[in-house]
C-alpha cells in the first residue's frame, strides 16, 4: 500500500508551502522519521520527516514550487509496488476546458436558480466563491463566473469599447495586438493608452540603451510575507515617531564591568542588544500601552513582555522573540539573543521562536546608520529603531563641549492606541534608564 507524502500544514494560518529541497532522491529507501525534504512557510523553514518506510517515488513538486497544503507531492512504495492508478500526483492546475456541471462536493449551499443557471451553462459550482448570505452560491455568483469564463470571441472581429476604437484610430494603434482589461476581455481606451505609453517607453529605451531583460525573482515565501505585512502595516497603522538622543557612557561602562566578570567565569559576553532588550522590557512594565495590541474594538494590554529582535538575513529578515524579557537575567537574555540570531541565520528557527512578540527592536547601528524609523510589526503597538553609537561633541552640564558616545533611537507607535504624550513619556523614561543603567534594578 503506497504511503502518501503531502505538503504538511505546520502553521495555523498556512495555506501553501514552498519546496526548498528534497533530501532524498527518487528510488532511494527511506525510513520513518528520516528527513526527506525541507519546505518553507512564509515564516520559517521546516524539515519534513518521512511518514513511513519505503522507496521514494512519484516526486511531483520541484524546489521553488508553491504547493497548497494537503497536496500529495510524493509516494513511499514497497518493494516492487507501482505508483497508485489514476492518482498520479499532480499539483493543482486550473483547467481551461469547460467542465460538465457537477454536484457540489463540499456541502456548499446553492440557491435553486443558481443551480439551474450553472447547469444550463455548464459551469462548475465548485469553482465559484459564494457571496450570498450564509455563504450561499447565488444567481449573481454564477453570473459573475459566466462573465469570467465566456469571452465573446468572434473570428476576425475585435471586442473593443467605442472609445478604445477612437483612440486607436487617432493614434494608429492596431487593436488586434492588444489585450483587453474590460469585462470579458473588452479593450478599453486605457488599454490603448497603455500600449502607446509602452511604445514611447520602448522607443526611448532603444535610443538610450539596448534592452536588457531584468532578472525575475518570484515573490514567494518570506519575501511575499514581508511585502504583504509591510504594506498592510504601513497603510493600516497610523505611525507617530519620536527620536531621542541617548548618552551611552553609562551603558558602555556597565557592559565593560559585566563582561569582565563574564570573562573570568567563562560565560557568554553581554551584547549591547541584550542590555537594550533588558532595559526596554523593564521600562515597558510601567508603560502598558506600548506593550499592547488593538484588536477589533478592544485594546489588549499584554501581561507578558516579549521582545522581538529583528535579524537581517541574506534574503529578508525575521523577528525571533525573547519571551518574558522583563523577568529574565541579563546573562540569560544574552545567551538567548545569541542563540536566536544564530539559528535565524542558519534558517533553523521554529514557529515558537517567532510567535508572541509584544514589542520589537531593530538595531541598524552595526551598519553605521545614525538614525532611522521602522514600520510597526502589527499587531504590536510599537517598534524601536536603534542607531549607531558614535562619539559626538555635546555640551556637558557646565556648558563645556565634550565628546560623548551618542546613540539615537526612534520609537514608532500606533497612534490609534498610543497618544503622543504616552509615547513621549516612554521614550523619556527609556532614555533615563539607558543613561543610568543602575535604574534597571530599581
Amino acid at each position: 500500500m503506497a504511503i502518501e507524502v503531502i505538503m504538511p500544514k505546520v502553521d495555523m494560518d498556512q495555506e501553501t508551502g514552498t519546496v526548498v529541497e528534497w533530501c532524498k532522491n527518487p528510488g532511494e529507501q527511506v525510513k520513518t522519521g528520516e528527513i526527506i525534504l525541507v519546505i518553507e512557510t512564509d515564516k520559517v523553514a521546516v524539515d519534513v520527516e518521512s511518514p513511513g518506510t519505503g522507496i521514494l517515488e512519484g516526486v511531483s513538486a520541484k524546489p521553488g514550487e508553491v504547493i497548497p497544503i494537503g497536496t500529495v507531492i510524493a509516494y513511499l512504495l514497497a518493494e516492487g509496488e507501482a505508483l497508485p492508478q489514476g492518482a498520479a500526483p499532480t499539483p493543482k492546475v486550473e483547467s481551461s476546458l469547460p467542465t460538465p456541471p457537477q454536484e457540489i462536493s463540499t456541502g456548499q449551499v446553492v440557491t435553486p436558480v443558481a443551480k439551474n443557471m450553472a447547469a444550463a451553462h455548464g459551469i462548475d459550482l465548485n469553482a465559484i466563491a459564494p457571496s450570498g448570505k450564509g455563504q450561499k452560491i447565488t444567481k449573481a455568483d454564477v453570473a459573475a463566473q459566466l462573465a469570467k469564463e465566456s469571452a465573446p470571441v468572434v473570428a476576425g472581429k475585435i471586442y473593443a469599447a467605442p472609445a478604445a476604437r477612437r483612440v486607436a484610430r487617432e493614434n494608429q494603434v492596431d487593436l488586434a495586438a492588444l489585450q483587453g482589461s474590460g469585462p470579458q476581455g473588452r479593450i478599453q481606451s486605457n488599454d490603448v493608452f497603455a500600449s502607446l505609453e509602452q511604445q514611447d517607453h520602448q522607443t526611448q529605451l532603444q535610443v538610450v540603451a539596448p534592452i536588457v531583460e531584468p532578472e525575475i525573482i518570484p515573490l514567494i515565501g518570506m519575501r511575499r510575507t514581508i511585502a504583504e505585512r509591510m504594506t498592510a502595516n504601513y497603510q493600516n497603522v497610523p505611525h507617530i515617531k519620536f527620536t531621542s538622543r541617548v548618552i551611552m557612557s553609562g551603558i558602555t561602562e556597565a557592559r565593560n564591568t559585566l563582561n569582565a566578570v563574564a570573562e573570568k567565569s567563562g560565560a557568554q559576553k553581554i551584547s549591547v542588544t541584550a542590555l537594550l532588550v533588558k532595559q526596554i522590557a523593564t521600562t515597558l512594565r510601567r508603560h502598558p500601552y506600548l506593550n499592547s495590541s488593538l484588536k477589533g474594538d478592544e485594546i489588549l494590554l499584554h501581561q507578558d513582555i516579549n521582545i522581538g529582535v529583528a535579524v537581517a538575513l541574506e534574503n529578508g529578515l525575521i523577528v525571533p522573540v525573547v519571551k518574558n524579557a522583563d523577568k529574565k537575567g541579563l546573562a540569560e537574555i544574552a545567551a538567548e539573543v545569541n542563540d536566536l540570531a544564530a539559528r535565524a541565520r542558519a534558517g533553523k528557527l521554529v514557529n515558537a521562536d517567532v510567535k508572541g512578540g509584544t514589542f520589537t527592536i531593530s538595531n541598524l547601528g552595526p551598519f553605521g546608520i545614525e538614525q532611522f524609523d521602522a514600520i510597526i510589526n502589527a499587531p504590536e503597538a510599537a517598534i524601536l529603531a536603534i542607531g549607531a553609537t558614535q562619539l559626538e561633541a555635546i555640551p556637558d552640564e557646565s556648558g563645556q563641549i565634550v565628546a560623548r558616545p551618542i546613540m539615537r533611537m526612534t520609537l514608532s507607535a500606533d497612534h490609534r492606541i498610543v497618544d503622543g504624550a504616552v509615547a513621549a513619556r516612554f521614550v523619556a523614561e527609556l532614555k533615563t534608564v539607558l543613561e543610568n543603567p543602575i535604574l534597571m534594578v530599581y
Binding site: 467605442p162 477612437r166 478599453q188
Partner: protein, 329 residues
C-alpha cells in the same frame, strides 16, 4: 438667502404671478376651484381670481383639453389641469390630433399657446390607474413640447416659460416632488425650454435622469461618492425639445452613461436618449454599453411592496451605477 418653498407652492406661485401679469391666462380642470386641486396646487386661487379664471369642470378630460385648445386658438393662454397623468389618454385626441397640428396646418398663422399640467408617477399607493408615466407618448408628437421639472426652482421658471410659449406644452409634475422644498426667488423668472441642467458635476459616470429619479440619483451619487465614485447627473428638464448638447458633452467627459427613468423601460424615453448618444460624437468616447434603469414591464401594483419594486429606487441606482463605474459591464 433665498426663501424656501415647496414644489407645489412654486407651481401655484408661477400660475398666480402669470395670471396677475397677463389677463389672458386662466386655469381649467377638475376640482381646481372649490376643492383647490387634487394635490392642493391651486388652493386659494378661486378666492383670488374668481370662477371665470379658475374654472371647475365636469369629469371630462377630453372637454378640458378641447376647451383649452379652442381658447388658445382664439388668443387666450389656458392652463389645463389633468388630475392624473393616467387620464391624459382621454385628453389625447384634442392634444395630439388637434392642438399639436394647428400651427402647422395654418402655415404658422395660428398658434395654440396652451399648457396641459398633469402629475405623473408612482409611490403614493394609488395603483394602476393613478400612477403612470406617459411622457414618452407626447415626446413622440411633433408640435408638442414636453417639460418635466424636478425642483421647486425649476418648476416655477419652466411653468412661466411654458405659459408664455406659443406652442402646446405638456407640463409633467411629479406627485412625490410636490412636498419637496427648495430655494425659489419671489420675483418672476423664466428658464428656457430645451435647456438641460447638470444637477451634479462628476468625472466617472453620467446619469441622465428624469422626474423623481433625479432626486434618487442625487442620493445614490452621494453614497457612491464615499466609495470614490464621482457621478455627474444631467437633468434634461425638457424632453422635447431635448438639450442634446449638454448630454453629449457630459458623456464625452465620463465615457459611461446610465439612464434612469420611472416609466416602463420598453418604449420609454431612455431609448431615445440612448439613441441620441449613440448617434452623436459621444459614441467614440463610450467605454461601456449605454445602460437603462427604468420601470418594470408591469402596471404599477397596488401592493406597496410591489409598487416599491416596480420602479428604480436609490439602492438599484447605486448598484447599477457602481457596476458601470467599475466597468463590470
Amino acid at each position: 438667502m433665498v426663501r424656501e418653498i415647496t414644489y407645489l407652492e412654486a407651481v401655484r406661485e408661477a400660475m398666480t404671478q402669470e395670471m396677475e401679469r397677463d389677463p389672458k391666462v386662466f386655469l381649467i380642470g377638475e376640482d381646481v376651484g372649490l376643492y383647490g386641486g387634487a394635490f392642493q396646487v391651486s388652493y386659494g386661487m378661486l378666492e383670488k381670481f374668481g370662477p371665470e379664471r379658475i374654472v371647475d369642470t365636469p369629469i371630462t378630460e377630453l372637454g378640458i383639453a378641447g376647451a383649452a385648445t379652442g381658447a388658445a386658438l382664439v388668443g387666450m393662454r389656458p392652463i389645463a389641469e389633468i388630475m392624473f397623468m393616467d387620464f391624459t389618454t382621454l385628453a389625447s385626441e384634442q392634444l395630439v390630433n388637434q392642438a399639436a397640428k394647428l400651427r402647422f396646418m395654418f402655415g404658422g398663422r395660428a398658434t395654440d399657446p396652451m399648457v396641459l399640467r398633469t402629475p405623473a408617477g408612482s409611490g403614493t399607493g394609488a395603483a394602476e390607474h393613478h400612477s403612470q408615466s406617459f411622457e414618452n407618448w407626447f415626446v413622440h408628437v411633433p408640435g408638442l413640447k414636453v417639460v418635466m421639472p424636478t425642483t421647486p426652482y425649476d418648476v416655477k421658471g419652466l411653468l412661466i416659460e411654458s405659459i408664455r410659449d406659443d406652442n402646446p406644452v405638456v407640463f409633467i409634475e411629479h406627485k412625490l416632488l410636490y412636498k419637496s422644498k427648495g430655494p425659489v426667488p419671489e420675483e418672476m423668472y423664466t428658464i428656457p425650454l430645451g435647456k438641460a441642467d447638470v444637477k451634479r458635476a462628476g468625472r466617472d459616470l453620467t446619469i441622465v435622469a428624469t422626474g423623481v429619479m433625479v432626486q434618487r440619483s442625487l442620493a445614490a451619487a452621494d453614497q457612491l461618492a464615499q466609495e470614490g465614485i464621482d457621478i455627474e447627473i444631467v437633468d434634461p428638464r425638457t424632453l422635447r425639445p431635448l438639450d442634446t448638447e449638454t448630454i453629449i458633452a457630459s458623456v464625452k467627459k465620463t465615457g459611461k452613461v446610465l439612464i434612469v427613468h420611472e416609466a416602463v423601460k420598453t418604449g420609454g424615453f431612455g431609448g431615445e436618449l440612448a439613441a441620441v448618444i449613440a448617434e452623436s460624437e459621444a459614441f467614440g468616447y463610450l467605454e461601456a454599453p449605454i445602460l437603462r434603469l427604468a420601470g418594470k414591464e408591469v402596471p404599477i401594483p397596488y401592493n406597496r411592496n410591489l409598487e416599491y419594486h416596480a420602479v428604480p429606487q436609490v439602492e438599484n441606482i447605486i448598484e447599477k451605477a457602481r457596476e458601470l463605474a467599475q466597468l463590470k459591464v
